[in-house]
């Protein structure tokens, strides 16, 4: 089958489908052209035509091969479309309020226009920072236990339950933090620290998994060389194994942070909603960026557009933070991991 046939068929069927839509639309009163049917019918027509022609010229097996290639490529394009649409929407709608005022004001006394997300950003940094401080030591030590010390039932139980923990829904983590704090502070408690505990419940399994993988990659010869030189086990782990896998562990931690920084549900439940700055995680409600985005959309005031603009600007900030974290994680992994 000549090389130019396939692309030519593709283009011609899309054009034909578009032309058909125009024809049908001009018949009735409405002028709107819906692009989904155009795309679907064009693609269908192209697939059928290509299959039939290929089957006639090249045979059944080749024709099936071409059919599958079309299906797989379609699946891939279908996945890319939402990503592109999302990125485009967030960027175009987010820049409207992506100004200095957004990053230097809170929402205190603001009804309608103006205001900013400073209280949310500070809250996110504090809560995620505390969550990291809680999760990283526990996560790394637990991973060291699983890789270096764990033999037998306890280790198998721990591995199994770490897997279970990875599947805990974020809202259940928030409910747990609430249940924990209700015991000490009574019902209706809202506290930044509770948000940090809920987030660390979500972070710990990710940190453990990543650290475990990195520790397992360290070659056994390194450990045995240290033992042969008389280094005790705890010094071997601290000074030989950990530094070797540090880059990978740092990558895992960054990815864990990127995962929890966008969590809304647990923070909605336990850290709450406020319009003012709150630097103290032990005292009352603390605003966080994902909750800010959600409440800006859900509790719109009279001036709807201002709230929506703030929501999109918050979404853009959140996406940028997450992408920067992922990028830094990949760069750390690429430049600092031991080679050879």
């Amino acid at each position: 089958m000549p090389k130019w046939l396939s692309p030519t068929l593709l283009v011609s069927f899309f054009l034909a489908s578009f032309g058909l839509q125009v024809l049908l639309a001009s018949d009735s009163d409405s002028v709107e052209i819906n692009f989904i049917p155009v795309a679907i019918f064009g693609l269908l027509g192209f697939t059928v035509a290509l299959y039939v022609i290929s089957r006639v010229i090249e045979g059944v097996r080749k024709a099936t091969d071409r059919l599958v290639t079309i299906m797989v490529s379609t699946a891939f394009s279908l996945a890319l479309i939402p990503l592109l649409s999302l990125a485009y929407t967030v960027v175009t709608k987010g820049v409207a309020r992506f100004d200095a005022k957004f990053f230097t004001f809170s929402m205190r006394n603001v009804v309608g226009e103006g205001g900013g997300a400073l209280h949310a950003i500070i809250g996110t940094i504090e809560i995620t920072g505390i969550a990291t401080l809680i999760s990283v030591p526990i996560g790394i030590m637990a991973a060291i236990y699983l890789v270096e010390y764990g033999r037998g039932t306890v280790a198998r139980l721990v591995t199994f339950f770490v897997d279970v923990m990875t599947g805990v829904p974020s809202i259940v983590a928030g409910l747990f933090a609430y249940a924990l704090f209700v015991i000490f502070f009574g019902p209706g408690v809202r506290m930044g620290l509770g948000g940090a505990i809920a987030l660390s419940l979500l972070m710990i399994p990710v940190v453990i998994r990543a650290t475990e993988e990195m520790l397992k990659i360290v070659p056994n010869e390194l450990r045995e060389a240290a033992y042969a030189l008389g280094v005790p086990k705890w010094l071997t782990v601290l000074k030989v194994v950990l530094p070797t896998s540090l880059a990978g562990i740092a990558t895992g931690i960054m990815i864990a942070i990127a995962r929890v920084i966008g969590e809304t549900a647990p923070l909605l439940l336990i850290a709450g909603f406020t319009a003012s700055m709150n630097y103290n995680p032990l005292n009352e409600r603390m605003m966080t960026l994902p909750v800010f985005v959600y409440t800006s959309y859900a509790n719109q005031g009279v001036d709807m557009q201002a709230y929506l603009d703030r929501a999109w600007a918050g979404a853009l900030t959140l996406m940028l933070i997450v992408m920067v974290l992922n990028l830094v994680a990949r760069l750390i992994s690429k430049y600092f991991s031991p080679k050879g």
């Binding site: 049917p37 097996r61 099936t64 091969d65 599958v68 290639t69 797989v72 699946a75 891939f76 996945a79 939402p82 990503l83 999302l86 929407t89 030591p137 030590m141 637990a142 060291i144 236990y145 270096e148 010390y149 764990g150 306890v154 897997d163 279970v164 923990m165 599947g167 805990v168 829904p169 809202i171 259940v172 983590a173 409910l175 747990f176 609430y178 249940a179 209700v182 015991i183 019902p187 419940l201 005790p232 086990k233 705890w234 782990v237 990127a258 966008g262 969590e263 809304t264 549900a265 439940l269 909603f273 994902p290 959600y294 959309y297 859900a298 979404a315 996406m319 997450v322 992408m323 992922n326």
Partner: protein, 308 residues
Amino acid sequence: MTDTKPRAVRRLGDIVFANLAFFAGVSILATLATVAAFLFAQSVPAFTGPPIDAASEGFFSYVLPFVFGTVYASVIGLAIATPLAVGIALYISHFANRRFAQVLGYAVDLLAAIPSVVYGLWGILVLAPFLSPTFNWLNANLGWIPIFAGQVSATGRTMLTVGIVLAIMVLPIMAALIREIFLQTPRLHEEAALALGATRWEMIKMAVLPFGRPGIISAAMLGLGRALGETMAVAMVLSPAAVVSFAVLTSTNSNTIAANIALQFPEAGGNYTNLLIATGLVLFAITMVVNMVARWVISRRAEFSGAN
């Protein structure tokens, strides 16, 4: 001549460090036990305390529509996501240009990094209006199929939109997992198939897919587990009603447990909070069962598949 075996020297540092590591490991078990215990303790007042208006007919009749909504939305999302994830993984591992394959992998991983609240915003402000004409068309022309029947929603905030958003959210994780598995297919099998004259699809059908089947199943179950717990996207996009409804195009949809908690909890007081925590416990149980089955499926075929 001694007959005692030489004993290893146990230094203080070793003992301290080993115990620290052990306690860190055990703390995982303790944490999960505590989560279950506290959630249980907080749910009990919903059953023993004064009756709540919302649950006037008993707990199970209150939670049943939510369980149905959770499972239904996740199943729709999974039904859309699984073939797409397999297709994407196949494309990146076997069809794409070598140079593009890594870039494309990054692009799909980017989808995984986007927070769910952003998906919710996009879902309700962009996707729902975009799909609304299609829903009208589906209802008008295919309305005889039961799931497409009913009064079409004017805003597009339907179960089908939620299913699509869930599918997009779950897709990157599944695609990444399945891609890893497809890349671990033994080269020898692939080359042998090609050497015998198979086309690319036949090679995939003979060598890649059978090898990857348990991995695909486990990826699907993990995706299901994730979709079951998804809160914000559903809370923002779905227009809920306290019914059990199979129709996917209407605006009276069963809400999911997680979205219900997110919507009601901030304003709830007294026993209603305990009722919501009880529904959270139900959700925890469901996701735990799904995850355990997924892990069991992986472990059963661990030696044959690359899905470790």
